[in-house]
């Protein structure tokens, strides 16, 4: 009897463990098949299309509707589909880091022409697959290594982050501002450094609380970190990163704390509190690289997506009245100076040690 109870407990634990370890795949609605067919070819496009459609694939580490990083990548794929003719697109979402290379090789072995990896961490997956398939073009959306057939986007998010810092520094009453980041990697660190510079410029007395939660996917850790910053007195919080930002922004909504989103326009996540977001410009960036590829200009190079090239501060939407006009004017002025090149925000990719 005792033996049986122990067995039962064992099997229950096993069942729970199995449940826990399933990758958090989000169901793809059947109405939207993975291989989204291109729009019905009209007479004109059919005439223009030169035979076989160009096959484009996208591999993502989260769900395409995560309202953040992954949705930004998906929007890039959709931009390709809308802007170019005779293109066929496919994607794999919620791919575990350990499975990234398999997903890339799967598309490569099927003869896809242009394969996009939208993950900062899966470095070797991009390099190894591109090395084994030299005739296929690869795009890694946030990386540090290029090859002849592997282009890399370097998001210049620090510029828009600087503008966000100006807003946060102007609006804080407690002089305590929070920054909840995902993982401290070059692209997120760059963004944090720009933000801190903006804060310091308008409000030298303000202190920026920094929490890197060490995950790009852990929504509840993001939520907890934001809450603890609110308890520590923060009244404006910058969510800097990926999926965990949803937790940061919902915590801000629940505690009525002003918030700034990241990667794409995250207003809809918490309309009551999100002042603006630091858009990294993936949608425009991905479409731009693909355009170069179609034009035959593709070389394995770094694409820096800067302010007004896709990266920008998102609109204030309904919260414009929370930002005083003189602050908005200051942001507009600095934005123009950055675009003109009279103001340069330094790139800081690593913490000083």
């Amino acid at each position: 009897m005792k033996q049986n109870i122990r067995l039962l407990i064992g099997v229950l634990v096993l069942a729970l463990a199995l449940l826990g370890c399933q990758p958090a795949a989000t169901p793809t609605p059947t109405a939207e098949p993975t291989v989204a067919p291109t729009a019905e070819p009209t007479q004109e496009t059919a005439a223009m299309g030169e035979g076989e459609p160009v096959q484009v694939a996208l591999v993502l580490d989260g769900a395409i509707d995560d309202q953040g990083w992954n949705q930004a990548g998906y929007e890039g794929l959709m931009a390709i589909q809308e802007q170019f003719e005779n293109v066929e697109v496919a994607y794999s979402e919620s791919v575990a880091i350990a499975d990234m290379e398999r997903a890339l090789r799967d598309y490569a072995s099927q003869g896809y022409d242009f394969i996009i990896l939208h993950s900062s961490i899966a470095k070797d997956a991009a390099i190894n697959t591109a090395t084994d398939y030299p005739d296929i073009m690869f795009l890694w959306t946030d990386g540090d290594t290029t090859l002849d057939n592997l282009a890399v986007i370097r998001p210049m998010s620090h510029e828009a982050s600087y503008l966000a810092g100006l807003i946060a520094g102007s609006l804080t009453k407690s002089n305590i501002i929070g920054m909840v980041g995902g993982i401290d990697i070059p692209s997120t660190h760059r963004s944090y450094a720009g933000f801190a510079q903006g804060v310091a410029e308008v409000n030298p007395d303000a202190q920026v609380l920094v929490n890197w939660i060490g995950s790009f996917l852990d929504v509840s850790a993001g939520n907890e970190a934001a809450r603890s910053q609110v308890e520590a007195g923060a009244d404006v919080i910058f969510g800097n990163g990926d999926g965990q930002n949803i937790g940061v922004l919902t915590a801000c909504a629940e505690t009525e704390t002003l918030a700034i989103g990241a990667v794409r326009d995250q207003f809809e996540v918490a309309p009551a509190v999100v002042l603006t977001s630091v858009e990294w410009g993936f949608s425009a960036g991905i479409a731009r690289v693909f355009g170069d590829y179609l034009a035959g200009d593709f070389t394995g190079q770094f694409y820096e997506i800067s302010l007004a090239e896709g990266a920008d501060l998102a609109p204030y939407h309904d919260n414009a009245d929370k930002i005083p006009q003189e602050v908005q004017d200051l942001v507009d002025q600095k934005r123009q100076e950055i675009i003109d090149g009279t103001l340069v925000i330094p790139v800081v990719d690593f913490a000083e040690e």
Binding site: A25, P27, T30, D106
Partner: protein, 353 residues
């Protein structure tokens, strides 16, 4: 004896359940077919064609060189950890900690592969793989020792030990072992001399897979042809009788867990030295838990575990292909896997009742 296939695939012919009902290997096949049949109904319910879906699954898993290679790549950790679980469960030691033992093996293998320099591959590679086995063995030793000496419930200890080492991995790649050059949260690459060679060019089919198949033969030999194997099985069948017969039960339990952990540790070493070539956060997305289902589906016999690991690998990898070909939502595949687990558990409980 009358059935040679049953002898290889099923449990020992003396198995009570086998005498009462259908032979083990036949009920295993029935379980898989039943799960696939229910899965077909689910696929129909989502409006897709189950024939097209299953066809896509088989073709993607075995229909191309890359597909076959990727299936075996996925089967490798499931097989090695499944063999480890098999040894433990034959002694009725409910090891839920294969996942942690995989990580322990991965950490130690990575440390030896990265920081030991100047050795030729012929020494460095075996050393790295052996180090992984030792790491896993150590992580299996503690729960085994606690059980043998202090009667601490192994379900609790092995489960909890998982968290320690998984989070330790995360700490290492975020901190001491982080690759400073790229700034991403991964370790530096292993020295080339510690890489498991690629067996099939332009795929990820690495020598670790051959090692895994070899280990299946070794475990078969261990369980059925050696004194220790006999002692392990004797302790599992009837601990009191084994003690009366003069078997040192405590010693057998500790050895069981050392071997069980070593095999899971090999899985970790194979992932690190054969696939990732770095220590990566979350490099095992639950292989150690899935290995329990693999071992039970394989009837706790090495040959059965080989087949079960390939089946689970095909299911895992085929999910994407099913989604592409027939617009089947990925969770349906997880339901099929879950059904296999539930049926296997049900059979297991019934047998012990």
């Amino acid at each position: 004896m009358a059935n040679p296939i049953g002898r290889w695939l099923g449990r020992d012919s003396g198995d009570v359940a086998e005498r009462q009902g259908m032979p083990g290997w036949l009920s295993t096949v029935a379980i898989v077919l039943l799960a696939l049949a229910i899965g077909a109904l689910l696929i129909l319910a989502t409006g897709a064609d189950p024939v097209v879906a299953y066809q896509a699954l088989v073709v993607s898993a075995f229909g191309s060189v890359n597909g076959f290679a990727e299936t075996m790549v996925k089967a490798c950790p499931l097989l090695l950890a499944g063999l480890g679980v098999t040894i433990a469960y034959r002694a009725k030691f409910w090891n839920i900690g294969a996942e942690g033992q995989i990580y322990a093996g991965g950490i130690v293998a990575a440390a030896v592969g990265i920081y030991v320099t100047g050795l030729p591959a012929i020494i460095h590679l075996p050393l790295t793989v052996l180090a992984g086995a030792l790491g896993g063995a150590l992580w299996g030793f503690f729960p085994g020792y606690l059980k043998a000496r202090l009667k601490v419930n192994e379900v609790i200890t092995t489960l909890m030990f998982n968290y320690i080492v998984i989070l330790l991995t995360s700490y290492l790649v975020h901190g001491p072992m982080r690759d400073r050059a790229s700034g991403i949260t991964i370790s530096p690459q292993l020295q080339l001399s510690a890489w498991l060679p690629t067996v099939i060019a332009r795929t990820r089919f690495h020598a670790g897979i051959l090692l895994a198949l070899l280990m299946a033969v070794v475990v078969f030999w261990l369980l059925h042809k050696t004194v220790l194997g006999f002692q392990i099985r004797a302790v599992g069948e009837n601990e009191r009788a084994a003690r009366v017969a003069g078997i040192n039960v405590s010693r057998t339990i500790v050895w069981t867990m050392v071997l069980s952990g070593a095999l899971a540790g090999l899985a970790g070493a194979a992932e690190v030295a054969g696939l990732q070539h770095r220590l990566v956060d979350e490099f095992s997305p639950g292989y150690g838990f899935l290995a329990i289902a693999v071992a039970l589906l394989g009837n706790l016999e090495p040959l059965g575990v080989v087949l079960a690991s390939i089946l689970f690998a095909a299911l895992l990898n085929g999910a994407d292909a099913m989604q592409r070909a027939a617009a089947v939502p990925v969770p349906v595949i997880f339901v099929i896997e879950g059904l296999v687990v539930v049926f296997v558990a049900a059979r297991f409980l019934k047998r012990r009742a």
